[in-house]
Every structure is written in structure tokens, then in C-alpha cells.
């Protein structure tokens, strides 16, 4: 494109009437070349690059770890939600016929997934088995335990389980119902709080990352001030000059993200043993969840976007500020 001389052919692409397809390929080839050039630039200034990548990686590690923590705690609380079971204690002296008819009614209920009847005798046997009072219990003249109906609601959320409990407690032969779900709501609230905290911390750290990358790019622009002046004098547009710096930002993002991922993985590996011994004590099948593929790519995408944004903010301010002062 020549503004002053309309007939002058000045662009490499238009000089030979290159086809659109080939120009499209050349466009990408040029971008790849510039990206590799920027990578080389990072390689040529290893200490500065490593510091920036390190800061970026560590800054991303904290939110990533917290995210994993929330995810795992949620997994624990989810598995407990399955156990949002309502115990209905039947009034003493109710005969089996009444219990069976209630059992039928409940089985037909749309809100209920499953009903199990534990009779007095079953309960006593189980208690004798588990408690270790086996012999002592034989001295009891009669069975003090009530019949129990275990009701598993279809909707296991705390609110609807509680509604069901209220309804079932009104049944004539039910002494009272019990739903051990308060601690679950508390856990939910704590997980919610944790998630909010993660968000706030993540935003703060990501802000810091933006500033760090912006500053690194600014220093690298300043160190190339002469070069930029010369490029401007021979007709480089701001867009052309800023492209390598933007690519540097992208590379910082890529390496920072990878570093964060590796740190988190190392941490998980380190903790695996300790967590295993704790969960085996609780007889739980809890398994520590690592990053999923989607999460890994989200992390990388976030890191790259941060790098790009940080460098863009810096580049936009500083490259237009450099003007050649004279031939």
C-alpha cells in the first residue's frame, strides 16, 4: 500500500499477484516465524525470562491448588448427600399390620426413592453385633428399640429432604423423624465460602500477574528503544513492532501455566501418601482428584490470556510513546 505513489507496488504479497490461499498460508507462516523468533528472544535473555515465568507459575499455582481443594471437598460432601436418609421411629406398641400399610403407602410415594423397614428384632441383633454388648443384651427383659423405617428421598437436597421429613413426621404411627442433615448444610456453606475466597484470591493474584508481565514487557521494550526507532523510521507500523512483544507475553503464559501445572501435580503426588493414610483410617474410598483435561486446558488458556493481556497493556502504552527523534 502506497499512499503517496498510487502506482507503486510496494508490498511483497501484491508484487506477484499471489493467490488468496497462498497469502493466507503465508500469513500463518509469518506468524509462526515471529512466534518462534520471540521464543528465541526469551532464550537469549534466560535470567529475566525464568524469573518472570517463575513468578507467573507460582502465582497461578495458588488459585489452581485452591480450586482443586474446593473440588475435592465438594466431592466429599456430594458423597454424603447420598446419605441424606430420613429415619422414622415408629411409636411403641404399633402392630405390624399398621407398619406394613404405612410401608406400602410410602413405597407408592412419588418423593421417595426407597423405603426399608428395620424391625425391632433386626435392630437389636444389629446392635448386639456392632456394639459388643452381645452377652449383656440377653439380660434385657424386653426389646427397648423401636421399629424404624429408613426413607431415602428422591431429591437429596437439604431443603426438600427437610420438607419430606416434616410431612412424614405427621403420620399417625410415627413417633418422630430424624434427618441428620444440619452438618451437611454447614459443610455446603463452608464450601461456598471457600469458593468465594478462592475467587477473590485468584483475582488478586491474576492482577499481580498482569502487572508483572506488563512490567517485564515494558523493560524489554525500553531495552530495544533504538531498534524500535529505526523500525519506525523505515516504515514499520505499531502493529508490526508490537507483535513480537505480544508473542513474548503468550510464551510467558504458556510456560507459566505449564509450571503451575507441574507444581500442582508435584504437590498432589507429595500429598497422595499422607491423604491415603488418613482416608484408610476413616475407611473411606476417597480419592484425591487431580486436574481433568478440561481444567488443564482452562489453566493454560487463562495463563496465555493473562500473558497476552499483560503484554498488550504494556505494548499499547509504550510503543506508541517511542518516536524517532531525527534522521
Amino acid at each position: 500500500m502506497s499512499i503517496l505513489f498510487s502506482g507503486r507496488v510496494s508490498s511483497g504479497a501484491s508484487a506477484h499477484k499471489i493467490s488468496f490461499g497462498r497469502r493466507f498460508i503465508m500469513f500463518w507462516v509469518n506468524h509462526v516465524r515471529q512466534a518462534l523468533f520471540s521464543l528465541g528472544e526469551l532464550w537469549r535473555t534466560p535470567s529475566a525470562s525464568i524469573l518472570t515465568i517463575g513468578v507467573l507459575g507460582v502465582s497461578l499455582t495458588l488459585p489452581a491448588t485452591l480450586h482443586l481443594l474446593v473440588k475435592n471437598v465438594q466431592q466429599v460432601s456430594d458423597s454424603f448427600t447420598q446419605a441424606a436418609e430420613i429415619s422414622l421411629f415408629i411409636k411403641d406398641g404399633t402392630d405390624d399390620r399398621q407398619i406394613n400399610s404405612l410401608l406400602k403407602i410410602l413405597q407408592a410415594d412419588n418423593d421417595i426413592a426407597r423405603v426399608t423397614h428395620i424391625s425391632k428384632q433386626q435392630a437389636l441383633d444389629e446392635f448386639a453385633d456392632v456394639s459388643g454388648f452381645g452377652a449383656a443384651l440377653t439380660y434385657l427383659t424386653d426389646n427397648p428399640l423401636p421399629d424404624v423405617l429408613l426413607v431415602l428421598p428422591k431429591n437429596t437436597s437439604a431443603g426438600s429432604a427437610r420438607q419430606l421429613l416434616e410431612r412424614l413426621s405427621k403420620e399417625r404411627i410415627v413417633e418422630f423423624g430424624k434427618l441428620d442433615i444440619d452438618w451437611l448444610t454447614r459443610l455446603d456453606a463452608i464450601v461456598g465460602l471457600l469458593r468465594q475466597a478462592v475467587l477473590v484470591i485468584a483475582i488478586l493474584l491474576l492482577g499481580a500477574v498482569l502487572l508483572i508481565i506488563g512490567n517485564t514487557i515494558r523493560l524489554s521494550i525500553m531495552s530495544k528503544k533504538d531498534e524500535i526507532e529505526v523500525m519506525k523510521l523505515v516504515g514499520a507500523t505499531d502493529a508490526f513492532i508490537q507483535r513480537p512483544f505480544l508473542y513474548s507475553g503468550v510464551w510467558f503464559g504458556v510456560f507459566g501455566g505449564l509450571l503451575a501445572f507441574l507444581i500442582v501435580e508435584a504437590m498432589l503426588w507429595w500429598l497422595q501418601g499422607a491423604i491415603g493414610s488418613v482416608t484408610s483410617l476413616y475407611d473411606s474410598d476417597f480419592r484425591l482428584m487431580a486436574f481433568s483435561v478440561t481444567e488443564f486446558f482452562s489453566l493454560m488458556l487463562l495463563a496465555v490470556l493473562l500473558g497476552l493481556t499483560g503484554s498488550y497493556l504494556s505494548v499499547r502504552r509504550h510503543i506508541s510513546a517511542i518516536e524517532p527523534t531525527g534522521p
Binding site: L4, G12, F240, P327
Partner: protein, 228 residues
């Protein structure tokens, strides 16, 4: 090709660098711009290359008023002007090839086409054998010629040179001027700012002389015509 129409340039603080300068450089014409330091030579070149804007008056290139060029379009104007700097302003950590190829890379050339043009430009200034050298390893005159190759590699219709022989001895200066003459002979308009009056007089080209911002002479330098 290049026209100054009553151009004045004053800087904040009241210093008048150019005072109502008018001249016209035709297509394919070669001219010298002389004057003492501070006479306004550099300011004049800065106005052409859009580093500065005139306070009053118009600068036209190919009948396009440069005041109409907005900031985002300045790079495209500079691509039409080859500029040679006194201190050559090469990128010292890049090879001669990379330096000369820079304007082509900026314009989107690549591959064989680019290599061909770079080699042609370096051939014209006689440095084809130094293509892989770093500028530090070259002499002052060679560095200046690399600067010339960079300025002409994309075949601009207008060539500006600011004190291109400033740091060179007379023989090398003459060589450099020959290079400019060669470009002029293939139709490029050339404007060379220099204070080397002896050289100017020997070359017998049109000479514009500035004194304290005013154009005091336009034509051949008369008083230097006498044999030394």
C-alpha cells in the same frame, strides 16, 4: 516530486528552525542541501519524513499534502522514502543481511524474493561479500553503505540522506556520492544534506543553502566554481 510551500517551523520557546522555505524537487532530480549546523537542514528532513510537522505552510510529496497524513498512515509514507542517517543507525546485533532486509520484512516480503532484493541492494553498494557479517566488524564507510542499501532496498522513489559522509574521509565520501549518483541515474529523486561544501561544488548539482532557517541560495554553488 517534493515541494515545500512557504514552510516555517518554530519550536516551543520561540526558536525558528525554518523560515518561509519554498522549493521544488522534480522527479528524478538530485540536489544538495547545505548550511551550517543549526541552519535547519535536519528540521527540513524531519518534516519530509514526518518526524516533525510544520508550524506554517505545506510539504507535498507527489502532490500529496503531508498534513493530510494521519498518524496511523505515517509508516506507509516512510516506506516511500529511503532515509540514510549520519550515524547510519544499523541494528548492531543483527547481520548485514537482516539490517538490509528489515524494510522488506516490514512490507511483507519473504523467501527468495526478499533474498534477491537484499543481494541486489548490497551489490549496488559493493558489499555483497559482507552479507553475513555483523555491522561492528565493518569499517565506517562500509557501515554507511549498508545504511544506503537498507534505504534503497525497497526501491523508494525519493531518497533522503542526512550527512551521509559526515564521518568519512574524502575518498570514501566520493564513493558514497557516486552511489547516490547511480541511483539518481535510474530515476530516483535524491536530496542529500551535507556541510561538505568542497564535495558539493565538485559534484555540480543543484544546491539549496540554508542560513538561520532561510533559503539563501537555490542553484549551483557559484563561488566554489573557481578552480582551487
Amino acid at each position: 516530486m517534493l515541494e515545500f510551500d512557504q514552510v516555517s517551523k518554530s519550536y516551543p520557546g520561540g526558536f525558528v528552525a525554518l523560515d518561509r522555505v519554498s522549493f521544488k524537487l522534480e522527479k528524478g532530480e538530485m540536489a544538495f542541501l547545505t548550511g551550517h549546523s543549526g541552519a535547519g537542514k535536519s528540521t527540513l528532513l524531519k518534516l519530509i519524513s514526518l518526524i516533525e510537522r510544520p508550524s506554517v505552510g505545506r510539504v507535498l510529496i507527489n502532490d500529496v499534502d503531508l498534513s493530510r497524513i494521519r498518524r496511523p498512515h505515517i509508516p506507509y509514507v516512510r516506506r516511500d522514502i529511503g532515509i540514510i542517517f549520519q550515524n547510519h543507525r544499523l541494528l548492531m546485533n543483527h547481520t548485514v543481511f537482516d539490517n538490509v532486509a528489515l524494510p522488506l520484512v516490514i512490507e511483507g516480503f519473504s523467501g527468495k524474493d526478499m533474498v534477491k532484493r537484499v543481494h541486489a541492494a548490497l551489490d549496488k553498494v559493493g558489499l555483497l561479500d559482507k552479507v553475513r557479517c555483523l555491522p561492528q566488524t565493518l569499517s565506517g564507510g562500509e557501515q554507511q553503505r549498508v545504511g544506503i542499501a537498507r534505504a534503497v532496498v525497497n526501491k523508494p522513489p525519493l531518497l533522503l540522506a542526512d550527512e551521509p559522509t559526515g564521518n568519512l574521509d574524502p575518498d570514501l565520501s566520493k564513493d558514497i556520492m557516486r552511489v547516490f549518483e547511480a541511483f539518481n541515474q535510474v530515476g530516483v529523486s535524491v536530496l542529500v544534506a551535507t556541510h561538505d561544501l568542497g564535495l558539493v561544488a565538485r559534484m555540480k548539482y543543484r544546491t539549496l543553502t540554508l542560513k538561520q532557517g532561510k533559503m539563501i541560495n537555490d542553484g549551483l554553488l557559484q563561488y566554489q566554481e573557481d578552480p582551487l
